[in-house]
């Protein structure tokens, strides 16, 4: 028995992963599960820093931020990537970031920048809105939806799938779109009627899009909450590239909510200088131009070139739904509570 245990201990000790030997420094980037980066860009990232880059994916957007807040006295990482504008208030209030103005900040659209003394820097953005399966609507001889109100039409009964805003960041963005559209007094009424019209609520984006959306699964819901850039992904991943995207988006009349993602240097992090270099790299064209095809959102740096599939098929709205960050921070938890009590 003893020798078996000794053997097992030996196996455990020898097979634990050891640190990379190529770099003697290391930068840790904490982010959410949807973060992605291509191999060559990561290699350039490491080269630019002269350090190994460890990417710590820590759950979905809200969960990852909560872990960063919990560990603020002794952070798990040097940089956090992916606080979005629905949670920026909490991040700033908890004071977990330090100010730094990276190079090329002036290439970022001022409308995307929060008034946060550069504690958080915009890195990417996208519009959350309704997506629909074009051919499904053609087959069923039904007009495609054009606004949020259409979902209440009895003809659209049982057609839409949305995400639980308490567990999904596009779900939360969509809830905010309805708050912006129907106002503090009207949004809950809208959701109650939506529920009566048999809307399906699932926990996350993947489940909704890849589990129920007719254009992307064997599901039976031709309308889903996703991004205005999702049609580009549909074209990009299609085995035979279609001329036009198989899915359409509903972005007019303030029915899309613009989700902006920020990155920042974590307070009390150990690698201050390295973290500043990393922020510079994140705003550089090399990193920014990698974003569209990795995460299917738009780069914050306006000078970054967009891939063709994006310029052809991804949409951006001129009239996004608007809510002040302060109003979001003040009311978010209450809206979520009211929504949960009314819809679930």
């Amino acid at each position: 028995m003893k020798s078996i245990i000794a053997c097992l201990i030996l196996i455990v000790l020898t097979s634990l992963p050891t640190g990379s030997l190529a770099w003697d420094k290391q930068l840790t980037l904490m982010t959410h599960d949807s973060f992605s980066i291509s191999k060559p860009v990561l290699a350039d990232f490491e080269k630019a820093l002269g350090a190994k880059v460890v990417i710590l994916r820590s759950g979905d957007a809200g969960e990852a931020l909560n872990k960063a807040i919990l560990s603020k006295n002794n952070p798990l990482a040097d940089i956090f990537y992916g606080v979005d504008n629905t949670f920026i208030g909490r991040a700033l209030e908890e004071d977990i970031f330090i100010p730094y103005a990276p190079k090329r900040l002036d290439s970022v659209d001022p409308a995307l920048r929060p008034g946060s003394q550069n504690r958080l820097i915009p890195v990417d953005y996208g519009d959350v809105c309704l997506n629909y399966d074009i051919s499904w609507f053609k087959r069923h001889k039904l007009a495609a939806p054009r606004g949020l109100e259409d979902l209440l039409d009895p003809a659209y009964k049982g057609l839409a799938v949305v995400q639980n805003p308490a567990t999904s960041s596009p779900g939360l963005a969509f809830l905010l779109a309805t708050v912006s559209r129907f106002g503090e007094d009207g949004y809950i009424e809208y959701w109650k009627r939506l529920k009566a019209n048999d809307v399906l609520v699932v926990n996350g984006w993947k489940e909704a899009y890849w589990g129920h959306f007719t254009a992307a699964s064997k599901g039976d819901r031709p309308i889903v909450v996703s991004y205005a850039s999702s049609p580009a992904a549909e074209v990009f991943y299609a085995e035979i590239k279609p001329e036009t995207a198989p899915t359409g988006v509903v972005v007019d009349k303030g029915s899309a909510f613009r989700q902006v993602e920020y990155a920042g240097i974590l307070k009390n992090g150990r690698q201050r200088a390295l973290a500043q270099n990393a922020m510079d790299f994140i705003l550089s064209p090399r990193f920014q131009e990698d974003i569209p095809l990795q995460m299917f959102v738009f780069p914050a740096n306006g000078k970054a070139a967009l891939p063709k599939v994006f310029t052809n098929h991804a949409r951006i709205t001129d009239t996004p739904a608007r809510l002040a960050p302060e109003a979001i921070e003040k009311n978010r938890d209450r809206w979520l509570r009211e929504w949960t009590e009314a819809v679930l």
């Binding site: 028995m1 245990i5 097992l8 201990i9 196996i11 455990v12 097979s15 634990l16 992963p17 992605s36 980066i37 291509s38 191999k39 990561l42 460890v54 990417i55 710590l56 994916r57 759950g59 979905d60 809200g62 969960e63 909560n66 872990k67 807040i69 919990l70 560990s71 006295n73 002794n74 798990l76 909490r90 639980n164 308490a166 567990t167 609520v201 699932v202 926990n203 993947k206 489940e207 890849w210 992307a216 699964s217 064997k218 938890d333 979520l336 509570r337 949960t340 009590e341 679930l344």
Partner: protein, 551 residues
């Protein structure tokens, strides 16, 4: 002499689990509770309002209880007749049947959910004849029964087997017909085992997490899954901590009940292995046995087979394409870890968890049995349920606690791969304790006394008397710890470092990706996990003392 009791190595052995628990369980929990309840240095109870004033929260608490009660009742209703057959008849393939019935218990919730989907879901194997089951509640109950059937069956069978013979024969002699004998003799005698099984299964269903989250969707929430939602997504730590505390206290109460009943049950199993079970003779008996075997196969085996089948069928043909894909890196993502790696890490972690769980579990068992014998204190009834708590503590609460407490050297474990086997050991520990303790208790005290009379030290007594006598249950519990670590999901998702995913995490990740290829690979790794688990159980069956109780 009295003094020796407290310096006896067996008493000192209690320090091992105590330190283990203090560092990995109580310290993190205290940390997160303190942060939640005393946010600015003083007690803040505003969240009570959110519990008592919320219709939804009340509904969740109510749902948690009634779904657990219904699931437990269904499990008991399925297991009681099965236990009758298992305890009274000897037949071919009985052992195989018992092994097959045991596999579901250690499968992670993601796999159980996938197995049920593969079986009764829209495109499932059984959906042709049975029609597919779509309602989340029906799926939840089915999953709970599927999961806990073997626990109930084992507890009932172990106890029932020992009730054979004289008592019922005496009843028959006195003129009772079989029904009377059952209701007036067997059933009352079985009561402790029924209660023990019921309490344990109730606790498992009460703190059900993965099943509810995956099969229930956002519409159904138990306290456990609501803790996850509140803590991980809404960052409402006070509410999450309060719910965790409620759950822990409630479970502690139930566990105390359970340990009391199971102790009673343990006393009734002397020399059970010598009882000769009859073979079914009359056509009636044969029908009953066959019907029971069929029932177990339908309930436990068909979902497992359909899971394995869906890993072998690609585009309507039987082939190994998914298994081949496990060994290849097909996508070019930075984060892609080949599932084969996951299998490797799982086995490494499981080996580590086994070692830690064995050391701590055996130490705790030595400590408790020593206290039982020598001290007759009121302490043991307290320790026994205490050590069972990790089974029903919310993983997210503990995970957040670990983030805020274990962040300084020498305990900087937050992102260390060492944390995973340690946390798994925390979950496996109660099983080791439950398996080893009855074996230790069954060793007559005189043996050790005789040993020390002849001049043996405590270490020699351990080495030459206790260790050999408990070696079989030791091996069985080691395999328990190993397989539980293989299937553990809830705690792993909070602790696994990005570069060291385990099998259940890989399955979860594959299920979250679109396309037949990902689904097939998820099924293929699930099947590998199932085979590993089954192998573990076959070993247990060979090594476990006949009819020993334990979970």
């Amino acid at each position: 002499m009295k003094k020796n009791i407290y310096t006896h190595p067996y008493f000192m052995a209690g320090l091992v689990p105590a330190i283990f628990f203090l560092i990995l369980y109580f310290y993190p929990l205290t940390g997160i509770f303190a942060k939640s309840f005393f946010p600015k240095g003083k007690l803040d109870l505003f969240f009570l309002d959110q519990v008592l004033g919320s219709g939804r929260m009340m509904k969740i608490i109510w749902f948690t209880f009634w779904q657990a009660a219904v699931s437990t009742a269904l499990t008991l209703a399925c297991a009681l007749p099965a236990a009758y057959v298992m305890a009274n008849y000897q037949f071919r393939f009985k052992k195989t049947l018992r092994i097959l019935a045991s596999i579901p218990f250690v499968l992670p919730a993601v796999v159980v959910a996938a197995a049920l989907e593969a079986c009764v879901g829209k495109t499932g194997l059984a959906s042709g004849w049975a029609g597919h089951i779509n309602h989340p509640l029906a799926l939840i109950f089915l999953a709970h029964v599927f999961y806990n059937f073997s626990v109930m069956l084992r507890i009932l069978t172990g106890y029932w087997t020992s009730l054979q013979g004289e008592i019922r024969e005496a009843a028959a002699m006195l003129g009772a017909n079989p029904a009377q004998a059952f209701f007036h003799v067997t059933l009352p005698l079985l009561r402790p085992a029924i209660w023990a099984g019921t309490v344990l299964v109730f606790i498992f269903c009460f703190s059900s997490f993965g099943i509810i989250l995956i099969l229930g969707g956002p519409g159904y929430s138990t306290i456990e899954s609501e803790i996850y939602r509140q803590a991980a997504h809404l960052f409402n730590l006070p509410l999450a901590s309060f719910l965790s505390l409620v759950q822990i206290l409630f479970t502690f109460g139930l566990m105390s009940l359970y340990t009391r009943f199971s102790k009673k049950a343990a006393r009734f199993t002397p020399r059970a292995g010598q009882i000769l079970l009859k073979r079914p003779h009359s056509p009636g008996e044969k029908t009953i046995v066959a019907a029971m075997a069929l029932f177990i196969i339908v309930l436990c085996v068909i979902p497992l087979i359909s899971l394995a089948a869906s890993s072998l069928v690609h585009n309507g043909e039987i082939c190994l394409v998914y298994y081949r894909a496990i060994f290849e890196n097909t996508t070019d993502s930075v984060f892609y870890v080949p599932p084969f790696q996951a299998v490797k890490f799982s086995f490494i972690f499981a080996a580590g968890a086994l070692v830690v769980a064995l050391i701590t579990g055996v130490s705790a068992a030595l400590f408790i049995s020593h206290c039982d014998r020598k001290i007759h204190s009121r302490l043991t009834p307290f320790f026994d349920p205490l050590f069972m708590l990790p089974l029903s503590t919310s993983a997210v609460t503990l995970g957040f606690g670990i983030i805020i407490t274990l962040d300084h050297p020498p305990l900087n474990l937050r992102t260390s791969p060492i944390l995973i086997p340690l946390v798994h050991a925390l979950v496996g520990f109660p099983f080791v304790l439950r398996t080893v303790l009855p074996a230790l208790r069954s060793i007559p005290a005189q043996m050790g006394e005789a040993g020390s009379m002849l001049g043996a030290g405590p270490w020699q007594i351990f080495r030459h008397i206790d260790l050999p006598l408990m070696s079989r249950s030791l091996v069985a519990s080691a395999i328990f710890a190993f397989t539980i670590s293989l299937g553990e999901f809830g705690a792993t998702i909070f602790t696994a470092a990005p570069t060291t995913p385990t099998i259940p995490l890989a399955i979860y990740r594959f299920l979250g990706q679109p396309g037949a290829m990902n689904y097939g690979q998820a099924m293929a790794i699930s099947t590998i996990l199932m085979v590993a688990t089954a192998t573990g159980f076959i070993l247990i069956e060979h090594l476990r003392p006949h009819n020993s109780e334990g979970i």
